[in-house]
Symmetry: C2
DNA sequence: GTCTATACATCGATAGAC
DNA sequence: GTCTATCGATGTATAGAC
């Protein structure tokens, strides 16, 4: 065991360049989005980041802690967008369009987010109920409250805001989470800036049409 | 080892009542929908079915084979619905409404299906490209072709059928795959017959609104 | 057709050298 | 802060008794 003459290859030592915590979170986000929580192992994530598994455990005490921190950072901005739109001073339709554009920009600019969010919903993960007072549920409730607000103002027909909210969220999330299925017929990825602009125009029109639906 | 006098508890033997293959597939479907492919172990599935792991391997040579057979049976009927609607002789709007109602009825009547299908898309599983000539892709293409047909007939404004198709599918799938998030504000599950009827009315109205969207 | 027992890989997580 | 080495549990899959 304690044989100082026999040196094994790849002996430990001082790291040339310690990896940044933010880089680890980014890599983890990609792995969780691609493989899911169960499918993404700590060994896989560490390998993608260029370090070994125990080094990853040095930065995050458990796999769950890594997941919560990685996904939480990706989801938080979405709640902010909804809250901003609901508190705006413009007319309802202007705020509705703006919210749609901001969400598409965000999901289109951060390719892991929609996939992560949908996985979280399917898995009934920690962000549905507890983690940070339920980020996912707050996003959902925020959209619902925003739509109720428009109904209260008499801007559009009163309908079932719950069905409307879930349909709108479905329109937003499925498209970006289903890549490359969504982009099967186009030349470049759905996350290409040009395609994000195209989707943005479509979503704004679609959401306007949905919200204009007579109550059912 | 070979001690005939010492009998262990729970020794093997003839099964009282052999489990049916269809029951195993049903149980596996539920487990894959709930836990995902990686999260659902053969041990877990066997346990839910009331047998042991090696007995499950006797019916299905690998975990992947079990998954493919279980999910394939759940997805196939959806493709049939789309194909039927596209070939109908009624007017376009009638066929559009009927397709929406049939799909909601199917997804609402088979609680695992939407969740399985969305997981398959997120995982880029075997049904996206190969398994049975790409069931998922054929469903997507079928809806797109149906919409193009309506445009060709001049029934509604020509728009981007790709965006339209993906938005409509998002409306259908997210709602049922996000249970119980979708049913957070209602008293009973989204799969309760009464709630399925409610969703059906909403979806028909939403899809009509989406399809009536001016081209973008 | 079901079982016990087991092979072998990988899982999350830890110990301790450097 | 990174590493090698290892732990115990669990993963897929198999052998062979009944």
């Amino acid at each position: 065991m304690t044989n100082p003459t026999k040196r094994r290859p790849g002996r430990p030592g001082r790291p040339k360049k310690p990896v940044l915590r933010a880089d680890l979170l980014s890599v983890a986000r990609g792995a969780f989005a691609e493989l899911g929580y169960s499918g993404a192992s700590m060994n896989e994530i560490a390998g993608r980041a260029g370090i070994r598994k125990p080094s990853l455990f040095h930065h995050f005490v458990t796999k769950e802690a890594l997941y919560i921190e990685a996904v939480g950072a990706a989801l938080a901005p979405l709640g902010g967008l909804v809250a901003e739109a609901a508190m705006g001073t413009d007319g309802f339709w202007e705020r509705l369009d703006l919210l749609g554009e901001l969400v598409v920009d965000y999901l289109g600019g951060h390719p892991d987010t929609a996939r992560l969010l949908v996985r979280e919903v399917l898995d009934r993960g920690p962000f549905l109920n507890d983690g940070g007072q339920g980020v996912v549920r707050s996003i959902l409730d925020g959209v619902g409250a925003f739509l109720e607000q428009g109904m209260d103002e008499g801007v559009f027909a009163r309908g079932d805001s719950r069905h409307l909210t879930l349909s709108i969220i479905g329109v937003h999330l499925f498209y970006f989470s289903a890549d490359p299925l969504s982009g099967a017929q186009i030349s470049h990825s759905v996350f290409h800036p040009e395609e994000v602009e195209s989707r943005k125009r479509a979503v704004v029109a679609h959401v306007r049409a949905l919200v204009g639906t007579p109550g059912v």
